[in-house]
């Protein structure tokens, strides 16, 4: 690991100024992804601006009924927060399905959103990878891609985004709050991560120098039934092979609102807008769920070794939607 400068920021403005003053610097949250990548030589920052102690760890109810989560709130604390458990259960469940107790105690909301792909070629500096070194090629496309994307891939990259939390945030219509050289702004969580296209080196819509300051969960999805379900190679402490977060509002036997997002299928949490559109206005029946989910997943273009993800994601989504439609069973 190369030697680097270290600054501990005490305010948002100071953090952004410290980063701007040091080209090649990175923000440090819990460090559970960045330090790992620095050991691997994938990240070589000249300086770390530690934002882990910024006073952004509160979860507050806003006057309009939304819930604002500070970017430095630790994943374990967010998952345990009564307002999150009661009003946005899929978010609590997604957090608890990720990583381990130790990692969740260190990982921050902001760092979780910005964690990098677990693609083995990305993590191995001796291998070609367009995300790590643009133009070097994609080792995974014809190599080991069992865990890779089936939706929204490009010729340049087939990586998935590994976060469980981000999938729930996308389904729940959350917003990501940013602060940077251009001031403060908000981006919908479902649009925060990008598809790889011609620029797989860009994971998200964040602009250079911007800091994630928080996440806002809207009042409109608070209290709606929601669930997260994840399939993986072992029962715990493993990344998803496929996952789904869903919320469903059924009024008088008709679906009034649906939010569905798939994890581990794409370069970003895959908000299933096609399925949602097919469901809204329909009766929440097994046939309607099947039709909606199949319509969404018909866009999948699996590779040699990851076609299993399509039926897996389908089963997860049908299970979750069925349980949401029958509140007594959830």
């Amino acid at each position: 690991m190369k030697a680097f400068d270290y600054v501990r920021a005490t305010s948002v403005e100071e953090a952004c100024a410290a980063l701007a003053a040091r080209p090649g610097a990175r923000f440090l949250g819990g460090g559970t992804n960045l330090v790992d990548l620095m050991k691997l030589g994938v990240e070589q920052p000249v300086a770390l601006v530690d934002v882990g102690r910024l006073p952004l760890d509160a979860v507050e109810e806003l006057p309009d009924g939304s819930l604002r989560v500070g970017a430095m709130d630790r994943n374990s604390d967010l998952a345990a927060h009564p307002a999150v458990r009661d009003r946005y259960p899929a978010l609590s469940q997604a957090l608890l399905a990720g990583a381990s107790g130790q990692l969740r105690n260190a990982a921050t909301t902001g760092g979780n959103l910005l964690q990098r792909t677990r693609c083995p070629y990305f993590q191995d500096v001796s291998k070609p990878c367009n995300k790590r070194v643009p133009g070097s090629g994609c080792g995974a496309r014809d190599g080991v891609h069992h865990d890779h994307a089936v939706l929204g891939t490009s010729d340049h990259c087939i990586a998935t985004h590994p976060s469980d939390m981000a999938v729930a945030l996308a389904a729940l219509d959350a917003k990501v709050e940013l602060y940077g050289p251009g001031g403060a702004r908000e981006v919908a969580a479902a649009e925060f991560h990008r598809l790889p296209g011609d620029h797989p080196e860009q994971d998200t819509e964040i602009r250079p120098g911007e800091l994630i300051t928080g996440v806002v969960l809207p009042a409109a999805t608070g209290g709606l039934p929601s669930l997260y379900r994840k399939a993986r190679d072992r029962a715990s402490y493993a990344f998803a092979l496929a996952s789904v977060a869903a919320m469903l509002q059924v009024t008088d036997g008709v679906v009034e609102r649906a939010g569905i997002a798939f994890g581990a299928l794409a370069h970003r949490p895959w908000r299933a807008r096609v399925a949602e559109e097919a469901l809204v206005g329909a009766a929440p029946t097994a046939a309607a769920f099947e039709r909606a989910v199949d319509l969404e997943l018909s866009a999948a273009r699996p590779l040699r070794d990851n076609a299993y993800k399509v039926p897996l994601a389908r089963s997860l989504a049908l299970d979750v939607l069925t349980r949401l439609a029958e509140p007594a069973r959830t």
């Binding site: 270290y6 050991k39 609590s92 399905a97 990583a99 107790g101 990692l103």
Partner: protein, 194 residues
């Protein structure tokens, strides 16, 4: 951080002081003033600088839990924490869990350490310090009402979560045991709850 061994030498040299920072850590109750190369992890500091060999380096990437220690009472993977970020923190390693015996002349094992002995909850013992620190953290989390993935979602928020075997297994899933002592580790944790 395979290169951390060289850093000791580099410290005395002319390497820019902007790559090192004075840091205070309280480890097992004792304050330590250290001038730390920013690259050093908490795991390397407790083992190499402080001679506390309880926390183990299994994977060095957050994947095994052998390096688990408590920082301000919370369990963390010390291999992924840069020590410089912890200035002012209270660190507890497995060595800090023992207490004075009734006669004040020896070391009294922590009840969980005793339970691991009673239940023979290890074979090679490499994962054991991490398992014990992790279990202590997990018990505190459950007592504070933190749910796990297997906690009934209808369980009331903010109330202590009772731990059955499934809960213990899930909450300790961040600690791998290559000897496969898992059933006895769960037995030992159950003993201290009972």
């Amino acid at each position: 951080m395979g290169d951390s061994q060289h850093l000791q030498g580099e410290r005395g040299g002319a390497s820019a002081s902007r790559h090192r920072t004075d840091t205070t850590l309280r480890v097992n109750g004792k304050p330590h003033q250290l001038t730390l190369d920013h690259r050093r992890t908490l795991l390397d500091v407790v083992r190499e600088d402080l001679g506390l060999y309880g926390a183990k380096k299994g994977c060095d990437h957050g994947q095994c839990g052998a390096c688990t220690v408590l920082v301000d009472g919370r369990r963390v993977n010390s291999c992924l924490l840069l020590a410089v970020t912890l200035d002012g923190s209270e660190v507890t390693t497995v060595e800090g869990l023992t207490g004075e015996g009734p006669t004040g002349d020896g070391e009294q094992p922590h009840p969980l350490q005793q339970a691991f002995l009673d239940r023979d909850a290890f074979q090679c013992g490499y994962c054991t310090p991490g398992q014990i620190c992790s279990a202590i953290g997990a018990l505190a989390e459950a007592a504070a009402g933190h749910p796990s993935r297997v906690t009934d979602p209808r369980a009331p928020s903010g109330r202590a979560v009772p731990l059955d075997r499934d809960e213990i297994r899930e909450r300790l899933s961040g600690n791998l045991c290559r000897c496969g002592a898992y059933p006895r580790i769960v037995d030992a944790v159950e003993d201290v709850i009972a």
